[in-house]
């Protein structure tokens, strides 16, 4: 296995998560979690099942409102914002349960993301103005470029409902990238991928990071996590129990204990 990647980043904190707490009735899913994500790096969030990883993503992107805490990106507070606003600020995400538009092709799915920042253009489209046609051409080209970047351009014109599960996740990632984010949050991007495809994903993530997008990944695939992350945060039962570079996390007794405590069968 290749040596774990060490993206340099520039040491500037892009995302500051402070004391974020989310409760569902009596269950505290996320408990006063704090950490930073530095610009130009890949950070992995790992932990046993039910550790609160996806819930954390929801609080970062406006799908769930935390009971306490703050999340700042680029100096702007994300807590309390609607999901679409977080996208416009530059935070994009994928979902554990992939949310593609089944009736659209892969390219069209990505095109929706490409046009996230565009002004409405309803009237321009109705009248078939040249500006509308040009924007669509640009979006189509950009969509093709992104799908090529991820290595799945063969699925360009396939309707989303026909795509295999692993490819669906990659299309969703392309769509998220299409919104030109500063920060990309990926929820289990490797689920359903073969070993070869996972290797491809590692290289894609590195290309994404080197292209200037900071990445946070929730993952169960430890091989991927160790290989691609610059830093890892470990959650267990809603709390952060460790944070640091992969080699350090590998040997952390608290982390080992948390994982041994669960009967996991993940790759």
């Amino acid at each position: 296995m290749a040596a774990p990647s060490q993206g340099g980043g520039n040491g500037v904190s892009l995302l500051q998560i402070r004391e974020v707490t989310k409760r569902f009735g009596g269950l505290t899913a996320v408990d006063a979690v704090s950490f930073d994500v530095f610009e130009g790096t890949i950070k992995a969030v790992i932990g046993p099942n039910g550790a609160g990883k996806s819930t954390l993503f929801n609080t970062l992107t406006g799908y769930d409102r935390p009971e306490a805490g703050s999340v700042r990106c680029d100096g702007r507070e994300l807590v309390g914002r609607k999901p679409r606003d977080t996208v416009l600020i530059g935070v994009a995400r994928t979902f554990q349960n992939t949310q593609l538009f089944d009736e659209l092709t892969a390219a069209e799915n990505v095109m929706v993301g490409c046009q996230a920042h565009q002004r409405r253009g309803f009237a321009a489209a109705m009248l078939r103005l040249p500006s509308s046609a040009r924007e669509d051409r640009d979006a189509r080209a950009e969509a093709g470029r992104l799908l090529r970047l991820i290595g799945i351009e063969e699925w360009l014109d396939t309707p989303a409902f026909d795509l295999p599960a692993g490819i669906r996740r990659l299309v969703e990632m392309a769509r998220a990238l299409a919104t030109k984010p500063r920060l990309l949050l990926l929820d289990e991007p490797a689920a359903g991928l073969s070993a070869g495809e996972t290797g491809e994903l590692v290289r894609t993530l590195e290309r994404v990071r080197d292209g200037g997008v900071t990445v946070v990944v929730v993952e169960h695939d430890m091989g991927l996590v160790m290989e691609v992350s610059d830093e890892i945060v470990v959650l267990d039962r809603g709390r952060k129990i460790a944070e640091g570079p992969p080699r350090m996390i590998q040997k952390d007794p608290a982390v080992i204990a948390a994982y041994l405590g669960e009967d996991s069968d993940d790759a």
Binding site: P83, M126, T179
Partner: protein, 325 residues
Amino acid sequence: MGRTLRALAVLVAAVLVACVPLVVTSPFYLQIYTFAGLNALVVVGLALLFGYAGQISLGHAAFVGIGAYTCAYCTVTLHLPWLVAIVAAGALSGAGGLILALPSLRLKGHYLAMATLGFGQLMSLVFVEAVGVTGGVNGRGGIPFPSLGPVVLRSAASLFWLVWAFVAVAVIVAYNLTSARPGRAMRAVHGSELGAQASGVDIVSVKVRTFVLSALLAGLSGALYAGVVGFVSPSSFTLTTSIGFVAMTVLGGSGSLTGPLAAAVLLTFVQYLDSLIPGLPQAAASKLQTYQQDIYGLAIVLVVVLAPRGLAGAWRRRRKGVGTA
């Protein structure tokens, strides 16, 4: 179908439709075909709303009624020229759509269905009770023929052309929308609201705009109806009417404009089947009338259960293998 082939097919269809009054001279039959156009105009809007954006409206007859009564009031009571009347009809029904859509579309899908149902029933009541404006149960008659400036459209053929010209423009506008960003945004909202939000789509704005457009088209259809028939009454704008529109849209299939259009024409013919089959005995004709609603109900149930993509989906499946959006 390749793009050029499809464009050619559309052109041929348009020419055929335009030639209908040249072949069919009976004003009686022409009026039925004109009614088909009036229904098609409403259904184009509903195709966008339901077939693309996935929103249910059970009260669209209300917007048709608003357009019809506005046109009637403008021409008969205010003596305004017909062009002003039809613009007013569109504006008022569009505004009605906006007022209904803004609060309802913040909420989940079934709330819109109920809000439109309630709105439709409420307007039915208003049409009956606001006797001063609407003429109450007896309706309002004496609506003049449509006139474009000094030209009055009296003949069955000219009315046919007028209505179908509106349909043509509506189809073009709808097609422009669906083949560009708004169409993708509508289908995104339908496919996954979560995913749409995550992709920067303003969900509420997409739904509201689509709804207002569909209300506007319905209102225009109503105004045209008033001009074609010369008389409007509340019985033309009931829940049954709304469900009929829904049946046409569902039968036509989602993600398509031609499907619902064809379904609208088809179901209009079914509506007037007793008139269209010459020599049909009166007993059989009235029997047929009672089964009209059954067809609507059956169409909806069968399509939703068996073929959610409707006629359009069945057509697409035949050509499976060549993937075109």
